[in-house]
């Protein structure tokens, strides 16, 4: 099986992201620090991996978010996000 067949959407990482973020962030808009493109977190490509979760930019494949669980710790490297805009309500006016 090719790794492309195993990728999911950022959506699938929603549960893990809620361990860190107080707000639901799959609908949040993230600007990729690699290429500058802006996309909802739910459209990032998730490479599910037993060691942790990696969310990549669908445009340039930059690892936008990396997250792991180790005993006693949740670790999040979001250095691939240059900017994040999170809706306060489930269906904000600005949503397409």
């Amino acid at each position: 099986m090719q790794t492309e067949e195993m990728r999911l959407d950022g959506n699938a990482a929603g549960g893990m992201l809620r361990e860190v973020f107080a707000l639901e962030v799959t609908a949040a808009l993230a600007r990729c620090a690699g290429c500058g493109s802006v996309a909802p977190m739910g459209t990032l490509l998730e490479y599910g991996h037993g060691m942790g979760v990696v969310l990549r930019c669908p445009t340039c494949d930059t690892a936008v978010v990396r997250m792991t669980h180790t005993p006693g710790w949740v670790r999040l490297d979001a250095s691939g996000i240059a900017f994040l805009m999170i809706p306060e309500t489930p269906t904000p006016a600005a949503q397409v």
Binding site: M1, E5, A12, G15, A22, T26, A28, P40, T43
Partner: protein, 254 residues
Amino acid sequence: MTDLRAVGAPPRLEWLVSTVAKVHNETRRARTLVLDVPLWPGHRAGQHVDVRLVAEDGYQAQRSYSIASPPESPSLELTVERLDDGEVSPYLCDVLRVGDGLEIRGPIGGYFVWDVAQGGPLFLVAGGSGIVPLMAMMRHYAAAPNELRADVPVRLLYSARTLDDVIYRDELEMGSRVDARVSLALTRDAPAGWGGYRRRIDRAMLEEVGWPPNESPRVFVCGPTPLVESVANLLVEIGHVPSRIRTERFGPTG
């Protein structure tokens, strides 16, 4: 149902032990679990839950399953497809029984969701068990007040291997209940006299079944990763705006 936000509880996502109230088989390989969840905060059509199984020796397995029931439903329903070499789906389909507890957390997801107030037209494209979150959307639509539904026509294109693999077949055939124009594409075997499609979803099919891009439909695509990526690419080729297309890939882990 209790709205946790209304009573001031923090929105932190905790693991909850639900109780299996009912089970029923949808197909040979898919089963619906009806769960009673204490303090379920409610959900939106298209969201999912995480399910965690813990063995006595501490071994854990965790998967995500889409919610099949609409927000209007008092119980939470998941439909699970059994993948024979998986370890969670065979448990949920074959071992779990009424009265058992099942640990879940949710609802999860704010992107692959649809509310009738967002409007349409709505074009849903499903492959295999990818029908599950789209069924929640159709059930939500069917339960909505007429004034909201009036300008929101719904079409579904659903690809399955055989007619026996079509999940929610009875409900889909009774178009009056789901109130959507349903097109089926069978990829493996079709019964004699089959009037629907008998091939994989392709560009011509998407153009025949869906709305043209100038009607700006909202499109939701859910199924196995290769199907979702192929359909999304074809929709963009046809001229649909990428931001109107929302996808949910279902992975191969069972």
